[in-house]
């Protein structure tokens, strides 16, 4: 039996029935890491000994996620375990505390397989901005896995983790999930604690699951949500997260966002997406055209607001208290300049400069102020759309995974990878990407968005769509183990 094809829910059932041990399960994933991570490079740190010990200790336990091999994006602090955010700045950095979301999963029994690669400080859409080299797409090693949670998406797609934690600021869970043919869920802003999530853009960042199935996303989410006294922007999720069972889509009014599914979307992607829309209609959903009139302003607004917040969030990397410090500086200003010149990569520097500029005296109103207004307009657009529709859909990305190196010198084209995902971050809404087909052998994702805190409705519909579309494909790296 190919254990790498199992969902977490299936594995838990088998372990519950005594047909599978936690040791065996973790062993299978560690083997796959051994076999393929040299090529895929999903991990920055593999917690081999720790994972084996945790799996051994999990044997026979009755915790709800007992023994599930889990990958953790390297943007989440893990006490005593390297946390680099894909940056030279934090090379060798070992946090003194663990992120709330990681603690919650660990307490529920998961086995931490290690820390996954990412675009430096979560800035990027291809994982090529990692200071430690790119991750490759398990469906085609010459292509990118997406980003910034590319390591987590690739690990799940390559059978190197049963599921993974990612973070999403402008699409960083959904876009790589789409590129790698897995499920990726960004919860409503405030659902999951950000304590211990190394901040990129604080008013956008959310932690969420990358999984093999919608059911698994719901299962992990059950253990992630909740108010954390250490994050005042977190709230108690108004409803308990339910594992979706019903596959019926009938009665759901679903809007297809015209601005995000027509022009600008690759014809191949559009075709797969349209087919999925028809399939959902066949399954009973009422599929109609919807509009988010200000969609085209989302990317520009995002690239003002997120870098503005980032410029402040990344000020703490100054060489004074932890992380990299450039030697030989004559005074503190020189120490700052050299440390930050050496420690940050180009994309991070670009965004710090963008953000600093946008907040500067004399420019604030024209940039930051205007972008905040756009944000309000987008929130209003969604409010209006959700008065008509239960949910909204679009392709997750305008193209399938592009080639390694193809866009590294063209930041604007790179930024456009997030055109469909950024609106949900601006409005703080929950959104999921599920694989709905292949185009040229590469996975295509469909994004479903819902009103704030509608996770249950969203997961229910995604579960129904997943069943109707019946994608059922895995990457060649998992397939070869059948």
């Amino acid at each position: 039996m190919n254990l790498l094809r199992l969902t977490a829910m299936e594995a838990l059932e088998m372990m519950g029935r005594g047909e599978l041990s936690a040791d065996e399960l973790t062993g299978a994933f560690l083997d796959q890491i051994d076999r393929h991570d040299g090529d895929v490079a999903a991990y920055l740190y593999v917690n081999k000994t720790g994972a084996r010990e945790a799996a051994a200790a999990a044997g026979g336990g009755d915790r709800p996620l007992n023994g599930i091999p889990t990958a953790i994006k390297d943007v989440l602090c893990t006490e005593g375990m390297l946390t680099t955010c894909g940056s030279r700045m934090l090379e060798g950095f070992v946090p003194v505390y663990t992120a709330t979301c990681v603690s919650r999963l660990t307490e529920a029994g998961v086995v931490n397989l290690g820390k996954t690669n990412m675009d430096e400080f979560a800035m990027g859409s291809s994982t090529e901005n990692s200071a430690f080299g790119p991750t490759r797409n398990p469906w085609d090693l010459d292509r990118v896995p997406g980003g910034s949670s590319g390591g987590s998406a690739a690990a799940v797609a390559a059978g190197e983790a049963m599921w993974a934690l990612g973070s999403d600021t402008g699409g960083s869970i959904r876009q790589p999930a789409s590129f790698c043919g897995v499920v990726g869920f960004k919860p409503t802003y405030g659902s999951v604690s950000r304590y211990g999530l190394v901040a990129f853009a604080s008013s956008f960042d959310q932690v969420g699951p990358l999984t093999r199935s919608v059911g698994d996303a719901a299962l992990m989410l059950q253990h992630l949500v909740g108010k954390d006294p250490r994050d005042t922007t977190s709230v108690a999720h108004p409803e308990q997260i339910v594992i979706p069972e019903d596959r019926d889509l009938s009665g759901l009014r679903i809007g297809v966002i015209s601005e995000l599914s027509g022009e600008g979307i690759d014809p191949g992607v559009r075709e797969v997406f349209q087919k999925a829309v028809s399939t959902m209609a066949d399954a009973g959903a009422q599929m109609e055209t919807a509009s988010i009139p200000h969609a085209e302003y989302c990317i520009p607004a995002y690239y003002i607001l997120a870098p503005a917040e980032a410029s402040a969030n990344l000020a703490r990397y100054d060489g004074v208290r932890f992380g990299l410090r450039a030697g030989g500086a004559r005074d503190v200003i020189e120490m700052y300049e050299e440390t930050r010149s050496l420690g940050f990569g180009d994309e991070v520097k670009r965004r710090i400069m963008l953000g600093t500029y946008a907040l500067s005296s004399g420019y604030y109103d024209a940039y930051y102020g205007q972008a905040q207004k756009v944000r309000t307009l987008v929130v209003n657009d969604f409010d209006a759309a959700f008065r008509e529709f239960d949910l909204l859909v679009s392709p997750t990305t305008p193209t399938t995974a592009f080639g390694l190196g193809e866009r590294v010198d063209d930041p604007l084209t790179m930024y456009m990878s997030d055109i469909c995902t950024v609106p949900a971050n601006l409005a703080g809404l929950p959104a999921i990407s599920i694989p709905v087909g292949l185009d040229g052998g590469m996975p295509v994702g469909m994004q479903i968005m819902g009103p704030a805190f509608s996770a249950n409705r969203l997961l229910q519909a995604a579960h129904g769509a997943e069943a109707a579309v019946a994608f059922n494909r895995v990457s060649p790296l998992v397939e070869e183990r059948d």
Binding site: L90, P229, E309, A312, A315, D318, R321, L359, Y364
Partner: protein, 482 residues
């Protein structure tokens, strides 16, 4: 030409809450460096601030005591700049939506009550402390610098006055009044040497009668009210000198050297920092509901002006006494406790304002530091009232109590100071005094009754002041020839 100074003050008050503004670390002065720190106040990656409710209550007290209005919603901003004592690279502060606005504090200036307007009162956090190693302890010429983060994140309230102050003396009176108010509020220890109360002053001058403000300079980080007064006087002289000689005042920060009494420029406006303020995304807005404000109002300690009114109306003290006693929190507490133990308010007031205050002024101690407690004073006053000792002996005993900390009874017993009221013992003395001074007896007989004072003095001299003057008077009148 005559010039009028225009002065505005910015006062920073460290609150004496148990824990820091945004984390659970204790607030205390001194201690081993870097022992009261955590990921939050060290700005480790992923750490988030959580607001200290107690600090907001203290802030509320200050705002109400300064008769400010408190908007229902205020927000935090990030104030961005790089400095090693600022771990996040930004200070969490308030900017265009502060906690409280538009208040005032009445102070007596040249015997007249003047209300100094309060522009705003807002909440922020303190920085760490840089310690420069080397000969001078100043940054220039130091070998290296060390940072103590114990102070990092201490709750700090900033109070900004309107430019309503027109002399250095008035500035000092305002600050004394403010400090006294803060002490009555129990929100800060207001220790200037330890930096829990700090003051910056903005000053400009304009021809008397002009409405337009002149160019201002700023005196920063003055650590005593006396130096603020001196520094402002010196700076005003400097500005007058500039204008008289046809030069201009340049907007800049100036330094007042307390040793040489000279003013030197620190930095000019052109080099001023751009703090790139923007709303702090890690904290939700601070909501001061009507209930919250009512709650603060209820827990407000009695303010000095209220106490003074009560001393007049309930204790029957003259207004002057009430003002003096309430000019200092500890003095006022000392007085109140003594009254509660002894009863007669005016007698206590006379002793506190006379003997105690003289001693405190002489030694520089505060009423709380003095070795004589209210209980000890009440015992002493009881002895005077009971006729055990005379009032004059009582003053002597009080002084001894201050020096040794002994009780009045112990001192009286040790030194044999008990008042002599025994008629037989005094009769003998009086007979002797009359015999020895025939000339004065003759004067008395001739109608110069005042000479009786001479005889009383003689008896006192013989008894070392212990004779009961009332008894001596009576006996003398009986014995002296008509």
């Amino acid at each position: 030409m005559d010039y009028e100074p225009v002065i505005g003050l910015e006062i920073h008050v460290e609150l004496s809450t148990r824990s820091k503004m945004f984390c659970g670390c204790r607030v205390e002065f001194g201690g081993e460096p870097n022992t009261r720190t955590c990921p939050v106040c060290l700005a480790h990656p992923g750490a988030l601030p959580v607001m200290n409710r107690q600090a907001i209550r203290y802030l509320g007290r200050i705002a109400l005591a300064l008769e400010c209005s408190i908007p229902e919603r205020s927000i935090f901003h990030r104030k961005n700049y790089f400095y090693p004592d600022l771990p996040k690279g930004y200070q969490i502060s308030q900017y265009d939506q502060p906690f409280a606005v538009e208040g005032g504090l009445s102070v007596s200036v040249d015997g007249e009550m003047v209300t100094v307007g309060i522009e705003r009162v807002h909440m922020e956090e303190d920085t760490a402390k840089n310690i420069h190693a080397g000969v001078s302890g100043r940054i220039a010429g130091s070998l290296y610098s060390m940072i103590d983060f114990n102070r990092s994140g201490t709750p700090l309230v900033e109070i900004v006055t309107k430019p309503h102050i027109h002399s250095p003396q008035a500035a000092r009176s305002f600050l004394n009044r403010l400090k006294n108010t803060l002490q009555f509020l129990d929100v800060s220890d207001c220790n200037m040497e330890e930096g829990s109360l700090r003051c910056d002053a903005n000053v400009s001058i304009r021809p008397v009668g002009d409405r337009e403000l002149g160019v201002k300079t700023e005196l920063k980080n003055m650590n005593s009210f006396r130096y603020i007064e001196k520094g402002l006087s010196q700076e005003i002289r400097r500005q007058v000198g500039l204008l008289e000689s046809g030069e201009r005042v340049v907007q800049q920060t100036v330094h007042f050297d307390v040793v040489t009494g000279e003013i030197s420029p620190l930095r000019s406006k052109e080099e001023a920092q751009d703090y790139r303020y923007f709303p702090e995304p890690d904290l939700v807005p601070l909501v001061a509901s009507a209930d919250f404000v009512a709650g603060i109002r209820e827990e407000m300690p009695e303010l000095p002006a209220d106490r003074a009114r009560r001393y007049v109306s309930q204790h029957g003290l003259p207004d002057y006494d009430a003002q003096v006693l309430t000019s200092d929190r500890e003095l006022s507490d000392f007085y109140e406790e003594s009254v509660s133990l002894y009863g007669d308010a005016k007698t206590v007031s006379n002793w506190v304002m006379g003997e105690l205050l003289a001693y405190l002024n002489h030694t520089g101690e505060t009423a709380g530091e003095c070795r004589v407690t209210p209980t000890a004073l009440a015992e002493l006053l009881d002895m005077v009232k009971g006729g055990d000792i005379s009032a004059n002996i009582g003053k002597e005993v009080f002084s001894e109590m201050c020096d040794t900390g002994e009780s009045a009874a112990a001192i009286v017993a040790r030194k044999g100071l008990t008042q002599i009221s025994d008629t037989d013992e005094l009769e003998a003395l009086i007979r002797q005094v009359i015999e020895e001074n025939p000339a004065q007896v003759e004067q008395y007989r001739a109608g110069k009754v005042k000479v009786i004072g001479f005889f009383v003095g003689q008896v006192m001299k013989q008894t070392g002041g212990r004779a009961n003057p009332r008894v001596v008077n009576r006996l003398l009148k009986e014995r002296l020839p008509e």
